[in-house]
């Protein structure tokens, strides 16, 4: 089904008599292939409002991400949270939609400084599991009127409702960027250096660690970037190189899209932790390739696609130190025994389950996806 508008979408859900699989561009869904009639949002497309002077954009959930990004680019602005393109990693084709970005709370390296997708999202319209159209938030960036269902919808992976429209606070696109790099660093030293940089007043907007190399990004006005990258080098000591402009952007696309894992066999974990726990988490994994972002707070790990893909060891370790691990890619056999989403403590799991039952009483929206 591919409803032409919100009303038709509402009728489609109302009339559904079995599970629905919600699809935007089909580029981000996590977990095993699921049964269910496909419900596409692609026809709910188009930017309905873009006011650069108010830093606001509103678009239909099925609007291609590329269209939103192009419009913002024309206004000298951008989505603050640096949306990852996970097609290569997940082996998908198709064009990512802005609604899919929200459903997955897709957030890249700049999350450490500008927040996640959920932090820039200021309004939603969605259709719940009974077919009711609901709105929450709006088009203004400060809004505490009623409960913040906007945050709840971000990252709900289509299990609470089908998004029909999303509104964002956007930010100016900086004039330039530069990246400081340093090679041959071990994980403990990398975490310490990234913490030092992120604890400085020089507004680091990316802090990643891959293949023994630390990458620290600075963005802004020309003079300011020159000043801050110089100041940061002085603070961190010798051994740092500077990569500028387009070459810097390439380094961050690689991190954002987890490019090094593309085309490689294996299961992929996305692990969110307290940054200083990074070396300990790396030590838990065996036969793994890893890529760290967010100053160490985000680890992408490629492990053999067998058994439980080390879920027991990894999630066991996180139980003690806090955080969560999502199995974003694995073969059917691994997914048969290992849930994609991190199991929650019983009380939280019950709350989430009861919430989902309220929003989707028949349990037809991406059932089983999040547990």
């Amino acid at each position: 089904m591919k409803p032409a508008n919100e009303m038709e979408l509402s009728e489609a859900i109302r009339g559904a008599n079995g599970p629905l699989r919600i699809v935007g561009g089909g580029t981000r869904a996590i977990g095993p292939d699921r049964a269910g009639e496909v419900l596409e949002t692609g026809a709910l497309s188009g930017i309905s409002l873009y006011e650069p002077g108010a830093l606001t954009i509103v678009a239909g959930a099925g609007t291609p991400l590329a269209e939103v990004e192009a419009a913002l680019d024309g206004g000298g602005q951008r989505l603050p949270f640096e949306v990852p393109d996970l097609r290569g990693l997940l082996g998908r084709s198709g064009a990512s939609t802005i609604g899919g970005v929200v459903a997955a709370n897709g957030s890249g390296p700049r999350r450490i400084q500008a927040g996640a997708c959920r932090d820039s999202l200021i309004g939603v319209r969605f259709v719940d599991g009974a077919g009711t159209i609901v709105k929450n938030g709006g088009r203004v960036m400060k809004n505490v009127t009623g409960y913040d269902l906007v945050k709840l919808m971000a990252g709900s992976h289509g299990t609470l409702g089908v998004l029909t429209e999303v509104a964002f606070k956007v930010l100016p696109r900086p004039e330039v960027e530069a990246t400081l790099t340093r090679d041959g660093v071990d994980p403990a030293a990398a975490v310490a250096a990234m913490a030092q940089a992120l604890g400085s007043p020089y507004e680091v907007t990316g802090a990643a660690y891959f293949g023994g190399q630390i990458r620290l990004r600075i963005e802004g006005m020309i003079g300011s970037v020159a000043y801050r990258s110089g100041a940061l080098r002085k603070l961190l000591g010798a051994g740092w190189d500077v990569v500028e402009a387009a070459q810097s952007a390439i380094l961050w696309r690689e991190i954002r899209d987890v490019a090094p894992f593309m085309g490689q066999a294996g299961a992929v974990w996305r692990i969110s932790i307290k940054p200083s726990d990074m070396p300990q988490v790396l030590a838990v994994l065996s036969q793994a390739q890893t890529l760290c972002d967010w100053g160490g707070g985000l680890i992408w790990a490629l492990v053999p696609d067998a058994g439980d893909a080390q879920a027991g060891a990894l999630r066991g370790a996180l139980a003690a130190m806090g955080g969560h691990a999502t199995l974003v890619r694995a073969g059917a056999a691994v997914y048969d025994t290992t849930p994609a989403f991190h199991p929650e403590p019983a009380a939280l799991a019950t709350l989430s389950k009861t919430l989902r039952a309220k929003f989707d009483p028949r349990g037809i929206l991406n059932p089983g996806m999040m547990g």
Partner: protein, 477 residues
């Protein structure tokens, strides 16, 4: 303002309720004397007062849990209270409720600079969170005007903002985790020192739920490195429209100031008479502040001033030093006090799309004439969060009602132009009955489901946020 009928059966059980609370709390933590409970009869929305049945001041999460378990079992409504600075009546009691104040829970539990967070008990004041880390070069970004007094618990309940949220966001963008006690006493850890939820973003909906989903006893907050410096520039214009255009042009030029504050003529006049900050007498005044090193500030301010000059400002004043910067901020920071010198006032905080600013200000001016009540506007222009201050005389019969009607019309106007009823103060009781202006019944129903899930008996702060007729059937259970 209508409040629910006091449940006489609960009031009649007061001795038993107090005795049960005394069993789990130290003697000084249970307040039940009719005179003493008056200390909790209102918050900063002082027009409404009602002494609670009792008030408790627990010191630990375990004590909070014990109190809630008792009240849950005995069917007693609980109204959580931070520092009592809500302008929306978020902590206003009912006569049959227990006030649960977290003011004694004000400790710092953990400070972690490498991971840039602080974990505090929720009764700690906003400013003292920054106070705990500033000597090490860090700060906590959300800065509501009441930051000297207001508690983190209330900040989380209302998702408080401040003057600098254009750059740093509001409470929800700086909150990493909470310890939440549910009405039945269950203690939950939600979030932590890591980013984002592994499942549904429950933290996101708890923040801003006005104490209706649970009592937050501990919070993990992001702290940020302090910028090297900050400097404001003041500019005056001869019309609101031009000032509005200037704000829009600054933003479109790709600069993100940390604050853009706007004051209109009535507010400038009142402020000058009160604080003598040396402001120019003009129709509209902007204070724009940028951050960074000296060179970075110079770079940004040069661009901002160039843009301002295109709009023919009647005044353009750069701060040459710390002292001049303070003088520029002095008037803005005294604005509420200055208006309060003239008369009693009601402070609204609707948000509007920035593009509607001139229209909304003109309409407010017209309404001011119709109602015969003066109004001054001072607000965060970068994010459209308005703060019209409507002056009235509390001692003059009918004036408060007139002021409320005026306020309601302004908020309806905010919604009409695409904005909302409240940008940072919360709904509380003050805007409760206007919720239908912004939300269709099904929009509210979806919000009520969340309350149903967290507090099925509807005992936590039940008379707030949603119109009483909308929640009546749920509260009766």
């Amino acid at each position: 303002m209508e409040m629910p009928r006091i449940d006489a059966a609960i009031v009649a059980r007061k001795p038993a309720i107090v005795a049960a609370l005394q069993e789990v709390l130290p003697p000084d933590a249970v307040i039940f004397d009719e005179i003493e409970v008056r200390a909790y009869e209102c918050d900063a929305l002082t027009a409404y007062r009602c002494p609670p049945l009792a008030a408790v001041l627990p010191r630990t999460t375990a004590e909070v849990s014990a109190v809630l378990r008792i009240c849950h079992k005995m069917g007693v409504p609980v109204v959580p209270r931070g520092a009592g600075t809500s302008l929306a009546g978020g902590a206003l009691p009912t006569g049959d409720c227990v006030i649960l104040g977290v003011a004694r829970m004000n400790g710092v539990l953990e400070t972690d600079y490498p991971n840039r967070f602080i974990r505090v008990q929720s009764g700690r004041t906003n400013l003292s969170v920054t106070g705990a880390v500033e000597s090490d070069g860090f700060f906590y970004a959300p800065d509501p005007s009441s930051q000297l007094a207001c508690a983190i618990a209330g900040n989380i309940a209302m998702n408080s903002g401040g003057a600098h949220c254009l750059k740093y966001g509001v409470t929800t963008n700086n909150l990493l985790g909470v310890t939440l006690v549910q009405m039945d006493g269950t203690v939950l850890e939600i979030g932590g020192a890591h980013f984002d939820a592994g499942g549904l973003d429950l933290l996101g909906v708890i923040c801003g739920s006005e104490g209706q989903l649970g009592v937050v006893t501990e919070a993990t907050l992001r702290i940020l490195p302090k910028p090297e410096g900050a400097r404001p520039v003041l500019m005056g214009f001869d019309s609101n429209e031009v000032a509005g255009e200037c704000v829009s042009d600054i933003i479109k030029a790709g600069i993100l100031p940390v604050a853009i504050e706007f004051m209109d003529r009535p507010c400038i006049e009142a402020t000058e008479a009160f604080a003598k900050a040396g402001y120019p007498m003009c129709e509209a005044l902007l204070i724009v502040e940028v951050e960074g090193s000296k060179a970075e500030i110079d770079e940004q301010l040069a661009l901002i001033i160039e843009i301002a000059k295109r709009h023919n400002p009647v005044e353009l004043r750069e701060a040459a030093d710390e002292d001049q910067a303070k003088r520029i901020w002095l008037g803005r920071k005294s604005a509420f006090g200055a208006m309060g010198q003239i008369n009693d006032y009601m402070c609204l905080d609707g948000t509007i799309p920035v593009s509607s600013l001139p229209y909304v200000l003109r309409r407010i001016g017209e309404m001011s004439k119709q109602y015969g009540l003066a109004v001054g506007n001072v607000f965060h222009a970068g994010d459209g969060n308005m703060h019209p201050l409507i002056l009235y005389d509390a001692n003059k019969p009918g004036d408060l009602e007139l002021c409320e009607a005026f306020g309601a019309d302004v908020l309806k106007l905010c919604v009409e132009v695409g904005g909302c009823l409240t940008g940072e103060h919360g709904v509380g009781i003050e805007k409760r009955d206007l919720m239908k202006v912004q939300f269709a019944p099904e929009d509210m129903e979806a919000q009520l489901w969340v309350k149903d899930v967290f507090d099925p008996q509807w005992l936590l702060n039940p008379a707030k946020v949603f119109p009483l007729d909308v929640t009546a059937s749920r509260r009766a259970v």
